[in-house]
């Protein structure tokens, strides 16, 4: 290599090296959190961005900071559209915040990969005071703190019930009564349908079927976690009942459009969550409705429950402070402030659930009662795949005309394969 070429190459390398260093410094300067000037900064990623609730979150944070002068909370908003992706990327790149809000079905994904700090020992005295621990437990320890939960109940249009000749206070408590009510409403004609049946909408359809499945005694995985048992007689009965309801008097649509139809008096009975109560209240919708527990074959049955949890990153340098803030967020007063502002029906704190705000409102009471009759999906790190299998099975039965027994058996085999691979 001649001198000129060598020198040119070296110059080029210097420029490149300088650029890379500048870029790295720029990127590393973007990360935050930790201890600055004696004060501890806690990074908290959360999903409550709605202008109706965000000021409440900010107020709770400000109150905490004023009571704890050495702590500063750095809030970052996430959206449900891409929040999960951002959290996954943050954990895998080692830039996760101290505290992160997680959906109940995401916790195991992170705890089983060592991304969350175990908090069982620190909160052992709290476990009896809160609902919603099952999704937070992995290998005998607790990895997240339940915050705001959400179960699903029946919403019944009383105006339509009255038109059928039934007492407008009628609320079905078993499958026969539910079927009769939906059929009667459906026979009113004029485009009115009896039951709101969910379309093949991801992360939604299975949540509407599982209440029927669980209420009939169905299980997805055996108690010891070794076998897929979804394809049982009980599971088949539940699936056939749901299909019959959907085929004979169901309005099939997405959850949002079913709720629109319910509010417009076009469908008599739907399964929904507390967000619908909030919508009715906030939009001042004039509708005569009643809420009821999800019916089982004989008596009120089980419903689906999920929720928002707060977890501490395993790499956080401020674990005790982060946990202290989580306990503050989930105490009786703050959960009540939050639920009042957001019209949330299922606080995780049992003391909050006994407050007048909940006991005086019949609709909120239904949610509180249903909470005691609700189930979380089986805690399994592979749940994302199992959910996919169940939704595909439901789509095949409800919309593609595949026999229920065959589809359930197929789903069982696929779930069993996942369990075997895990071994």
């Amino acid at each position: 290599m001649n001198h000129e070429l060598y020198s040119r190459t070296m110059n080029t390398r210097k420029y490149l090296f300088a650029l890379i260093i500048i870029s790295i410094l720029g990127i590393s300067g973007c990360t935050g959190g930790g201890k600055k000037g004696g004060a501890t900064t806690l990074d908290w990623w959360q999903f409550w961005t709605d202008p109706a609730i965000k000021p409440t979150i900010e107020k709770i944070v400000a109150d905490y900071e004023s009571k704890n002068p050495g702590i500063k909370i750095n809030l970052t908003d996430l959206t449900w559209g891409d929040g999960h992706e951002k959290i996954v990327v943050a954990f895998s790149s080692g830039t996760a915040p101290d505290i992160v809000e997680l959906g109940s079905d995401w916790i195991l994904e992170f705890s089983s990969n060592g991304q969350l700090a175990p908090i069982g020992k620190e909160i052992v005295t709290d476990t009896g005071k809160f609902y919603g621990w099952p999704p937070a437990i992995y290998n005998g320890d607790i990895y997240a703190f339940p915050w705001i939960l959400g179960t699903r109940v029946l919403f019944i249009n009383r105006g339509l019930v009255k038109q059928t000749g039934l007492d407008s206070n009628f609320v079905p408590s078993n499958w026969d009564q539910l079927k009769k009510l939906c059929y009667k409403i459906d026979s009113l004609g004029g485009g009115i349908r009896g039951f709101g049946s969910n379309a093949a909408e991801k992360h939604t359809l299975y949540k509407k079927f599982l209440p029927f499945f669980w209420s009939n005694g169905g299980r997805i995985i055996s108690e010891d976690g070794k076998y897929a048992v979804i394809s049982s007689d009980k599971g088949l009965d539940a699936l056939e009942f749901y299909k019959e309801l959907s085929d004979s008097c169901g309005m099939i649509d997405t959850q949002r459009r079913l709720e629109d139809a319910f509010l417009a008096g076009k469908v008599g009975v739907i399964i929904s969550g507390d967000w619908l109560l909030k919508r009715i209240r906030n939009e001042k919708i004039n509708i005569d409705f009643v809420t009821g527990l999800i019916p089982g074959p004989q008596y009120p049955g089980k419903s689906f429950v999920g929720g928002e949890y707060l977890a501490v990153s395993e790499k956080s340098q401020n674990k005790p402070e982060a946990l202290d803030f989580i306990k503050y967020l989930t105490n009786r007063e703050n959960e009540l402030i939050f639920c009042k502002a957001n019209f949330s029906a299922n606080p995780s704190n049992k003391e909050t659930a006994r407050e007048k705000f909940f006991t005086d409102d019949p609709a909120l009471q239904t949610f509180i009662m249903q909470m005691n009759l609700s189930k979380f999906p089986p805690p399994d790190p592979q749940w994302v795949y199992i959910e996919d299998i169940i939704e595909t099975m439901l789509e095949n039965v409800l919309f593609n005309g595949r026999p229920a027994a065959e589809s359930l058996y197929d789903a069982r085999n696929k779930i069993q394969k996942l369990i075997d691979e895990k071994k």
Binding site: R8, T12, S92, E109, E201, K202
Partner: protein, 286 residues
Amino acid sequence: MRSRQSTGFLLASPWILTFLAFWLFPLLYSLVLSFTNYRLLRPSFDWVGFQNFIQLFSDTAFLESLKNTFIFVFGTIPVTTIIALLMAVLLDKRFKGRTLFRSGFFMPSITSMVVIALIFTNLYSRGGYIFILAQMAGLAPPENGYLLSNKTALFSIMAMDIWMSVGYYMLLFLAGLKSIPVELYEAADVAGAGRWRKFWSITLPLLKPVSLFIIVINTIKSFQVFIEIFVMTKGKYGSSSAVYYIYESGLSRFEFGYASAAAYVLLLIIAVFSYLQFKLMKQGRI
């Protein structure tokens, strides 16, 4: 001289760095990942050779999405190209309001795909205008709307895509028509050629370079169909595409190794099709 070269290199380096960091590196890295079982969050991963590729071709969901992608490509490209060509020929003539028509037809191309997809989701749903018009015309639309039926979801998305992209290709054809020398048409007039004769013997052959460009870019775009499906159906009701499948594997289940393998299969298919199109066009078969 050396100083000028260094300055030039320094000025170009932001682009070079961006190219290396955000284009070439991810491209090569995903090729490496396609031979691994890498999943985000998993601390380590293993080299699995061609296992991901073998698994892909026994994965019914992937094969289904690939089939849908081919239906989309072969269903939309000929229709889009023919309509765009006819519209360009019609709008090449002078008549009152021509600019209005040109702008109107081009408008969907500059509108956000997400906005259009959301509007069409409503138009296709039960109670939407298209649904009601079909009912009035006695066409018996699917009970729950066009997007909630296995028989119509994919075709409804294809129809929307044709409506949306036809204006853009019309504009390209118009540009191609402008480049055809008028003398050729005058000579044909002298020779007594009719309108069809001029179209077949002059217009169409001289539009070949533009047609090739349109077919190639439309093929690449159609093989990568994603936004419409993401917004309108989330891949349900038999409408999943190859890119949607890759998105689901990579960004929903975070199976980066498997998703990378699927992406490379798609890349290979697009490359083969683009090569074949160039080859056939050169040989004058299309």
